[in-house]
Homo-oligomer: 261 residues x 4
Amino acid sequence: MNIRATVWGENVHERKNAVVAEVYPDGMHTQIAKLLAEDAQITTRTATLDQPDHGLTDDVLADTDVLLWWGHAAHGDVQDEIVEKVANRVWQGMGLILLHSAHFSKIFKRLMGTPCALSWREAGERERLWVTNPRHPIAAGLPPHFELENEEMYGEPFSVPEPLETVFISWFQGGEVFRSGLTYRRGAGNIFYFRPGHETYPTYYDKNVGTVLRNAVTWAYNPQPAIEDPTKAPNVPVETALEPITERGPKLHAKGEEGLR
Amino acid sequence: MNIRATVWGENVHERKNAVVAEVYPDGMHTQIAKLLAEDAQITTRTATLDQPDHGLTDDVLADTDVLLWWGHAAHGDVQDEIVEKVANRVWQGMGLILLHSAHFSKIFKRLMGTPCALSWREAGERERLWVTNPRHPIAAGLPPHFELENEEMYGEPFSVPEPLETVFISWFQGGEVFRSGLTYRRGAGNIFYFRPGHETYPTYYDKNVGTVLRNAVTWAYNPQPAIEDPTKAPNVPVETALEPITERGPKLHAKGEEGLR
Amino acid sequence: MNIRATVWGENVHERKNAVVAEVYPDGMHTQIAKLLAEDAQITTRTATLDQPDHGLTDDVLADTDVLLWWGHAAHGDVQDEIVEKVANRVWQGMGLILLHSAHFSKIFKRLMGTPCALSWREAGERERLWVTNPRHPIAAGLPPHFELENEEMYGEPFSVPEPLETVFISWFQGGEVFRSGLTYRRGAGNIFYFRPGHETYPTYYDKNVGTVLRNAVTWAYNPQPAIEDPTKAPNVPVETALEPITERGPKLHAKGEEGLR
Amino acid sequence: MNIRATVWGENVHERKNAVVAEVYPDGMHTQIAKLLAEDAQITTRTATLDQPDHGLTDDVLADTDVLLWWGHAAHGDVQDEIVEKVANRVWQGMGLILLHSAHFSKIFKRLMGTPCALSWREAGERERLWVTNPRHPIAAGLPPHFELENEEMYGEPFSVPEPLETVFISWFQGGEVFRSGLTYRRGAGNIFYFRPGHETYPTYYDKNVGTVLRNAVTWAYNPQPAIEDPTKAPNVPVETALEPITERGPKLHAKGEEGLR
């Protein structure tokens, strides 16, 4: 098995903010890619906002099994056209993993159909993630709970659709809770949202976070061939109906006409 | 209880196509509204594509508890701005019922985050709807199954997210099946997709279809106050944390600064 | 609307344990019934373990729209036959609300098909319940979060099936989290599990808890007629098939024979 | 990867009924095992009702990654004690695949918590299975739909809990529909119900059915270590709370006392 992962990083704060630059001198995407590289079955590349097509050309997308997405400062700068291409690749079968502030990324909101809002506090407080779905593939090898001593708080309500499965729930020192690991399927694509990862803290150096990300890539990987055109609505002519039927009643569409959309 | 329903009809084929005009001389929206009026607890108004703001002004939306949507020929003519306003009202708590070809409406695709595609055939064949979730509120008063002698076929796969509940599944004479009644929740809004309703057949004169629509309106109605701004992501200052915490570590945001989005 | 609720209380600790007797001198079931009585649309009766058939005779069950269940010390003393009758009534359409330690009741485990286990600590610590599904009927009228200053801790993982919807998640002072409000549907019956309610604390005197319980009763109420025999698997004779078919191939069952089970 | 599958067959009709004996001279379990053997990564053994412990000793269960279950005539003869052991193994992480009439097996009803009833007709009619969830692992390599020319009809409503995912829906010649492929998770165990497989027809010689079963075994396999005691509800002493707390208020349990259940 060889899974081709692409780590997309906004790479803005890493260059503009001294604090972030110190924690992630080569960019967060580079460090996230390093975490994935610990699994020999994952081949990783990175892409960033400032590249042509944000590094997500048709070729790159076609060559990506699982896309990881970290963004925060520049959600609005991501071109709508690229967002649509990524959505289409997810429907075709590409896995997608949304990290932390990517809850407000265009692509996550596009695929959820909800605001994806939450409450937040940047105070470096303690976060404890509880595994609510033991032996879920994404929780493989994890202890029953693990801590991040300094994290940004995200609090409920998190306005996302009811997930397929809730894998993690976070406890925060300041009194909040959050559903920190949620799975979805959109078309043929598996989607995982994972909460931690504020850019001023060394979250992507954490051993357990690395385990989660590698597990999530393996879980999200769909080895089956891509659905060629997920948005196609094929007409089934009456002549080729699986059970013999005779056309009846008035018709809107002339024979062989395309459907309306 | 008084539920304020708005029936939105595209009202294009009714005026341009002789067949449809004969079946629905006053427009499909008018006939759908008549079905709802059989329930004294539902107050109904209609709105159509050609009206200013498609009849969906801020006032009308604020005054609508449940919106029903039928469209087919002119999905692309619905303004994106109105689609966003409708989505926001759904997140606030307005119910939304999508009818037949509204599977490809902008608003349904917006809220599902998937292509909402399917296969189809216009042959006036027999459709039989089975209640898969007996005693679900939307199936109240229905027999275990009911037939529409002439309907357009919609076939699986229907590329929508896994629903909260599957209420109806259709059998088609030509050999296909379809999940014909699906429930979702997006934000505070209840959503129901109901398959039948091709414009060249008298589906909206069917007694059982009327029962489904009235049930669906009652089910989708959320009597609670609207969520004022569903897209807001409030900051919780460290000073007002529910449990006393001390700010630690480096910060990205200056005190009182708005969050990024 | 008149909803007939039956509050089932084990009523063991209230009589054997001085602490509990002081908090609930008339029994917990009596106090829970008082909370429900604040809603004029709910008619309440109580039933206890020591009554014949634990107070859940066929007549009482037939006359119950929603059953609330509190048990802890004597789960094993509940007769299996009564458990089966309650399960059957749920499948028929009776609502069921499980309270706190009822996570280990025979009836909850029966309907979930899982161990329903969790971790726990009795230290009178602070619990804060967060509404994760704002404007859900069960959360109507509640603030975004509310506290119980002294409660027993229940911690994840809670080994229940993935719910239809997660309404509440609890934060505990000692560092744990718990999915405190979960909805299910089994047959025609709506089921709600609600976490708080340890017998040594005055939880059932709390205003917000009262709101939750009244909301939950209203939500769980299914006004439709009971499914007469939910376990029946009717044969459909070939002669009465909805579409004309001819019998083909070898048969196991003689004509008119009952199905195997 | 090596997945250890155990095919459990009731093996009653194969010996008592001439028709079935002719179709499955070595028993249905043997033929199902042959289908699995086409995947070199699956090691298969069989077990039958008439063996001691129905062939499902503690050792066999501990040595089984995925259990397939076919039963019909003798559901009632399966010992309750064995059913509980199988349920416990599922909660620990063993996969379970229920075939056709196993909808009424004790183990399926035990894990679902519902009647699992349906309507049926034995007329050798045509069944067409539609893939409703394209590129789901269980549908890998299948065409969009496939037919079984002679099958027993199962009709909705199928009284099971709302599934995690619906993979197949069947169309029947006589006019019914059925959710033929449903996934569940109970504890750490993945569960799949697959409808076809009436004993008087050669269903388990069908190429597509073989593909489904091999896919389902691979999908259901959970490579993680078993949860040792899934029914355990551990106490967390106040002294070892993750966040320092002080014991407060009245207590029911003496220090170190076991929880009630």
